[in-house]
């Protein structure tokens, strides 16, 4: 029950900039809670308004009974749309062919992309489904960010850089790139550049992901070794310093003073003797 409420809450929270209307609306987010939104006036034009119905419609197909699942799907959508330039989207529009609408649940779309049979038999369908997701992310970025931020605010355990989500997104993007290759986009004089650029960006993303894992491993190793070294050296310094005898220098200085006193006396005697000898006529 809590998860349902959360999803609804998140939906309500994300609609701050998005649900721009000309009247005050009340959204019921739980039986006992009511949130009021002061919306824009009649003359205001909301930035996201043209896509509102489209975005809300697609988002309603996202899981809404589990915060984590909902968050993961939104983040996955964001990651999937990475590096999709306008030229690349044109390539997808050219080669994509899928029976997908605003009402198709997101889970169904993603399952279709990942389906190995479909990937082999109908790459243009895979391209079409991916195009659907990328178009959605492009047009509804504000809504998606709002959802992600709200869910993160609700559940602090949700992390932005989730390696599992990143890995899944990269897998789906790789499927897209392979599908484009299969349908011949890489040899199309109009679309080959965009398709190859996209394939190159996958390598860069893969590199970055692997580097993040490497950095994380190094960070761990570094912390472990630096802490260990620091502790060992501190203990060693203490032991060595404890062994040092401060008295030695003090004794040496006192000895030096004593020797100087003796030297002074000796010199005084020598001076008197010399004077007496001289004044006494040389004996």
């Amino acid at each position: 029950m809590k998860h349902v409420l959360t999803s609804l809450g998140a939906l309500a929270a994300m609609s701050g900039p998005a649900f721009a209307q000309t009247e005050t609306v009340q959204v019921e987010i739980a039986p006992t809670q009511t949130t009021q939104f002061q919306t824009a006036g009649a003359s205001d034009v909301a930035v996201a308004a043209p896509s509102q119905a489209y975005c809300v419609s697609i988002m309603s197909g996202f899981p809404n009974d589990d915060t984590v699942a909902r968050y993961q799907f939104f983040r996955l959508t964001q990651d999937i749309a990475q590096d999709a330039t306008p030229q690349f989207r044109a390539t997808l529009a050219q080669y994509g062919e899928a029976d997908v609408s605003q009402d198709t649940p997101i889970l169904e779309v993603i399952e279709a992309i990942a389906n190995p049979v479909l990937r082999q038999a109908a790459p243009e369908m895979v391209i079409g489904y991916m195009d659907h997701l990328i178009q959605f992310e492009d047009r509804c970025e504000t809504y998606i960010s709002g959802q992600v931020d709200s869910l993160k605010a609700y559940d602090a355990d949700l992390v932005w850089e989730d390696p599992i989500i990143a890995e899944d997104a990269l897998f789906l993007r790789q499927v897209l790139s392979d599908s484009l290759d299969r349908v011949g986009a890489n040899n199309d004089p109009v679309h080959s550049f965009a398709a190859q650029q996209y394939a190159q960006s996958l390598i860069t993303t893969r590199d970055n992901m692997e580097y993040q894992v490497f950095v994380s491993d190094i960070d761990e190793l570094e912390t472990l070794y630096m802490t260990d070294l620091d502790g060992r050296l501190a203990r060693s310094n203490d032991i060595i310093n404890e062994e040092m005898d401060r008295e030695v220098l003090g004794d040496a200085v006192i000895l030096s003073d004593d020797m100087n006193k003796a030297a002074r006396e000796q010199e005084k005697q020598r001076t008197l003797y010399t004077l007496i000898r001289i004044l006494g006529g040389g004996y």
Binding site: D207, F214, M226, L229, L233, N241, M244, L249, M259, L275
Partner: protein
């Protein structure tokens, strides 16, 4: 010739001797502010270095190996700075104590510089590199770093030692001294010779050791070229310049300039100076403050740190660190090392280089912890406290000697006045003096003689004060040295064991994560502009010849040598490149475009004593000044295209 005459003659003789022998005693003064303080400007560090590269490494003599002690004492007594000293007339035990205390003080005061530098730089950018003075394989003195601090790429290295003239009898004179409130720093600042070709990397040096520091730099260049000819980068850390001076290495002439003077591509000569630290600050050092009061800071370290910041700001940090970086990377990736000299935007190279940098960064942080703990153990520990006690005790000794010197001067003045007066009285005597007058003259002569004798006595006492102190403090010196060695050894041992362990783990991580390089660095032939294949190329090769980016080294029959960083085709420089030519009389560099091994187009020329100039070249010949606005091609500006590592025809104009 009665009794009076006899007394007069004795007195006059004694007085004459005393006046000559004692003269006017000096009171061991120093300058309150070093020349580095006067000529320094407070600058903010304006340069950045990539991860894994450190800005500065402070090197200093920390310990003398038992087997090298005799050679060290002998050299210390022979290669005297700031005066003349005959070992036969000196006290060897005292000289040894001074030699030992020099090492101890260098240990302590180097930390003052470290602290000041660290405060002005980002974290982990200053490392300590204590050296042990030992006998080399040839039986001569040398020094080796006790830690791995110099194994990482750096922008500058700073050698620091505090010097004392090896004769306590000269302590109150003008000779250099590090005792009590007086410090005589010996320093050198150098960068890699690739960043300062005309001076072979030497940027600043104390005047007395400057020629041998320059010679030490030349030796480092020769070693680096020889190593590269064998296909590797790893060179040993050069010995301390002070040790090069002690062992009397071959000096080398180099263009110099006085501090504060503007003379480009020359070495700043730092004058030998005896710096007097603030007495109040010295007195305020106590056991409780843990060394928070640093009297050397206001007299020297702060200004010197500013000088070093200024030097770094004016140094091409990429050129300074590139060979060190290649060397460090070659420890775990030979095929990548030579490619890093010029760099590339190839995705596979970039990916791999990023890993290498992160690896070096881990080592940098690790070694930085070691330096911090070394500082902590020495400066904030018992040893630091005892050095501060020692400085205070020495200061008292020095003050006592100064007091005695002042008294001696007064006594000398009285003796001279008395002699003049007595001389006048005797000159007027004509044999008719009354008995009373004769008594008065006799008393005057007696007083004069006494004043002279007193001056002698004070001088002896003054010497005794210094000698007695040094004799008595020997056990304390020995103990401090033992502790110092233990602290460094402990750091070194613990760090070395853990460092090797860490390095092995880093290597495993690196190997596991690497994607393959499309283009790898290997070793092949390099020809410069002649037809014969005489040199060595480390970098991208094709058909046994340089073909892409890398470094080429060759030695000519006339004793000159050439190193070239940049692009090559068919074994010859072709495209943007940086060429350094070393001749027996000096070194110079050319940066710009090369065609078939020869300078071609607008080239930046760096020569000793002259500002860098952009000149026009054709087929290797200088044909005049380059037109205003000419663009100088550089291999280090990575506005390069993917695939540039193996670009076979880059720069074919």
């Amino acid at each position: 010739m009665g009794r009076l005459t006899k007394t007069f003659m004795l007195g006059a003789a004694l007085l004459g001797t005393s006046a000559l022998a004692t003269g006017c005693a000096t009171t061991a003064k120093g300058v309150s502010q070093s020349a580095v303080m006067k000529s320094s400007q407070t600058e903010r560090l304006a340069k950045e270095v990539p991860p894994g590269t450190v800005m500065a490494v402070v090197r200093y003599p920390a310990h003398v190996d038992a087997a090298a002690e005799d050679a060290y004492y002998k050299a210390y007594g022979e290669k005297v700075i700031g005066g003349k000293w005959s070992k036969s007339r000196g006290d060897l035990a005292e000289m040894h104590a001074l030699a030992d205390s020099m090492i101890l003080k260098s240990n302590y005061f180097a930390l003052s510089l470290y602290k000041e530098l660290a405060a002005k730089m980002p974290a982990h950018n200053v490392l300590l590199s204590p050296h042990v003075i030992k006998l080399g394989a040839d039986g001569k003195l040398t020094s080796e770093p006790m830690t791995q601090a110099e194994s990482l790429p750096n922008v500058v290295t700073v050698d620091f030692a505090s010097y004392t003239f090896p004769d306590t009898k000269k302590m109150m004179g003008k000779e250099p001294l590090t005792f009590g409130d007086l410090v005589t720093p010996l320093v050198t600042v150098r960068t890699d010779h690739r960043a300062a070709a005309p001076t072979q990397g030497l940027l600043m040096a104390s005047a007395p050791i400057l020629p041998r520091a320059a010679g030490n730099g030349r030796d480092a260049v020769n070693e680096s070229l020889s190593i590269m000819q064998t296909g590797r980068f790893k060179t040993s850390a050069p010995e301390l310049d002070f040790v090069a001076h002690l062992k009397g290495d071959q000096p080398m002439g180099v263009t110099t300039r006085p501090m504060g003077a503007a003379r480009p591509n020359s070495v700043t000569a730092y004058p030998l100076e005896k710096i007097q630290m603030n007495k109040a600050e010295l007195a305020s050092m106590n056991e409780k403050d843990g060394g928070a009061v640093d009297p050397l800071k206001t007299a020297f370290s702060k200004g010197f740190a500013n000088q070093i910041i200024g030097i770094i700001n004016r140094t091409d940090v990429d050129k300074a660190a590139m060979a060190g970086r290649a060397s460090a990377i070659s420890n775990f990736d030979e095929s990548l090392a030579a490619l890093t000299l010029v760099g590339s935007r190839d995705a596979d190279y970039q990916a791999r280089y990023r890993y290498a940098e992160r690896l070096m960064e881990a080592e940098q942080k690790y070694l930085s912890v070691q330096s911090l703990r070394l500082f902590d153990g020495v400066h904030n520990g018992e040893m630091g406290a005892q050095v501060r006690d020692m400085l205070k005790a020495e200061h008292k000794i020095l003050e006592r000697r100064r007091e005695l010197a002042r008294k001696q001067n007064q006594a000398t003045a009285l003796a001279i006045l008395g002699a003049v007066a007595a001389g006048g009285a005797i000159a007027s005597q004509d044999g008719n003096n009354s008995y009373a007058e004769r008594l008065a003259i006799e008393a005057l002569i007696g007083a004069t003689v006494y004043a002279g004798t007193k001056a002698f006595s004070l001088k002896r006492q003054s010497r005794a004060v210094g000698s007695n102190y040094l004799s008595s403090v020997v056990p304390a010196l020995e103990e401090q040295q033992t502790v110092q060695v233990n602290l460094i050894d402990s750091n070194e041992t613990i760090t070395a064991i853990r460092f090797e362990d860490l390095r092995a783990k880093l290597q495993t991580l690196y190997n596991n994560k690497q994607r393959s390089l499309d283009t790898v660095a290997t070793r092949c032939g390099y020809t410069h502009d002649s037809g014969s294949k005489t040199g060595t190329w480390l970098g991208v090769c094709e058909n046994g010849l340089a073909n892409g980016t890398g470094v080429g080294v060759l030695r000519n029959a006339d004793g000159s040598s050439v190193e070239y960083y940049g692009y090559a085709v068919n074994g010859q420089p072709q495209g943007p490149g940086y060429m350094i030519t070393h001749t027996p009389t000096g070194s110079y560099s050319l940066e710009g475009n090369f065609t078939a091994g020869r300078a071609d187009g607008a080239m930046r020329l760096s020569k000793a004593g002259q500002s860098d100039r952009v000149m026009s070249y054709q087929a290797g010949q200088q044909i005049g000044k380059a037109p205003s606005g000419s663009v100088v091609a550089s291999p280090f500006k990575t506005g390069l295209r993917p695939g540039d590592l193996a670009m076979a025809n880059y720069g074919v104009n």
